[in-house]
Every structure is written in C-alpha cells, then in structure tokens.
Symmetry: C2
Subunit: 170 residues, 2 copies
C-alpha cells in the first residue's frame, strides 16, 4: 500500500514557508491506518523492548496502537505540567525560545528496554529530549522509530548513537 | 482483571482539592493495558460505526489502540490551533473561562457513524463539544465511550441523548 500518498502537505503551517506533513488522511482511512501499524510492527521486529515511549500528541495515536498490537506497556512523554505525579523533565532549545518535556519518574525502572516512537523526525530536538529522559531513568533505548522522516532536515545526526528507523521518507 | 486497581489517585492535581485519576499505571503495565483495550473492544460490540473520534491527548492513546484493533479509521478532536487544515470549532464554558476544540472539516462525511472515545467522563463539557462538532459535520454518534466515569459529577446528564458506556466507575 502506498502510504506516502495518504500524507497531505499543508502549506504555511504552523508558519509561513513551512510545508506541514499532515498524517490525518492516513489515520482516518481504515485501510491505510491498519497498514501503517502493520508496517511499523514489521519494521521493529528483531528489537527486544518492554515498553513503547511515545511523544505527545500524534505519537500517542501510533504508540497506543503499536503498544497494544505488540502487547507491551505504553509510556507518554508530555508537555510541561500535564503529568500529574512526580516527573523528570528536559528543556531544549527551539529556533525561537525553548520547550520542556516531562516523564513520570516511576514510568521506567533501571535496565528496562524501550522503543521511542513519534510520528515525525524533523530536526530531532524533541526525540533527543525523550532519549535524554529515558537515559536519566536508567532505561536503555533499543530503537528510535518514526512514521515519517524529513531527510532534508538531517535529524538523524542529532540521535546518531541510536538505531533509527522510519517508514516513510521525504 | 481488576483494572480499577491500576488507576492511581493523585491528590491536588491540577489544583488543590481535586483528586486526579491517573491512568498511567494502567497504560504502562502490558497486561493491564491489553486487558483495558480488550474490555473496551467487548464493550462496544453491537454498535456499528465507521470511525473512532478521540479527544486529545489521553483519548488518543486509547483511540489509536481501539481503532487499530477494530480496523476502523481514527479522527482526532484537538485543542485550538493544532490541526493544520481547514477546521470547524466549538467553544465551551469552563468553571473559569472557556476552551475551544477543533476538528478537520474533511474528517467526516455526511451519514458516517462514529464512536466518540475519551479516557474520562467528568462534567461532560469536553465530550459535548465533540458531539456538537460531529453533528455539525453531518455524521451520527452511535455511542459515547469512556475508560473511566466519575459518576458523582453526573456528566451523563449533559449527553443523555446518546448511548453512553464506561468501563470503570468511581
């Protein structure tokens, strides 16, 4: 199935000059959504992990589906202030300003093996924050996986110490 | 499986006096997460729908998993400004202030049948907004489903024109 044809480019979002890759046409089509999760499932075969760490918000849709299909636990990385219990956090620089992500400090135990999943690899700032927090908790990242990779932004460079896979490339 | 025992109450979140029902212990346990999705799957049997409409952000985790398991499409209801293409919106009152939710206007077509899913039914304001937008798009709500229902807040009253089911009640 040509999943790429279900990704819609929306011009000038979130700001002028950016062509946003919108995965909603893929998610709302039952065959494309199922094929995408099946393909992600195949893509991560051979990697042994206990939990999927998924990044808010679109990563939650894919992460929930894949964790359920694989029979592993689901751990969210959320924006600051959203998780109710004790958290660890990581602040990283954006083009203008900064952003902070959080994880529950009891979400992983030392030695656990995790897959980090997000919908899109762009410059790699967000996923680097997730990797940093997983490491803070003493767990190890066995694979970093994406539905889409924007190769022209070279996000791989920022996370090159880890295995990386993506299903669709632009 | 006693899923209720996997819901953690966090006192004074998001503000003093509120006991927040945290579903993260359930999601991060592989057996509890799988059992919850299996039970939601059983709970919605007998309702005929084409798509699951899930509400940001925790609803995305459950909605992604359930839509994939059922082989139906996934449609997000998001906070204002997050969806890239043309949207419809609905603004509703909170205790202090108001909130606006959005859906893509091409996410549903007239006559489609949808399940609306969220993690928690509290006062019902958020899910009412979702129902309103689904109706604006000409689709019909065949069931409104929740992982958790806080019965003492009587949210059912606000959506009593629709079938409602919840897996865990407090």
């Amino acid at each position: 199935m040509d999943l790429k044809s279900y990704i819609r480019e929306v011009p000038d979002f979130p700001k002028p000059g950016i062509g946003f890759k919108d995965i909603m046409p893929l998610l709302q089509d039952k065959e494309a959504f199922r094929a995408a999760i099946d393909d992600l499932y195949e893509m991560v075969q051979g990697y042994d992990f206990d939990k999927i760490v998924a990044i808010e918000s679109r990563g939650f849709i894919l992460g929930g589906a894949l964790a359920n299909k694989m029979g592993v636990g689901f751990i969210p990385v959320r924006k600051k202030g959203k998780l109710p219990s004790e958290v660890i956090s990581y602040t990283y620089q954006l083009e203008y300003g900064e952003d902070t992500l959080e994880m529950h400090e009891d979400s992983l135990v030392k030695g656990e093996r995790v897959l980090i999943l997000d919908d899109l690899l762009a410059t790699g700032g967000t996923v680097s924050a997730a990797i940093n927090m997983v490491s803070q908790l003493g767990a190890s990242v066995v694979l970093v996986a994406f539905l889409i990779e924007l190769k022209f932004l070279s996000g791989r460079e920022k996370i090159k110490d880890y295995p990386i896979k993506s299903l669709i490339q632009f």
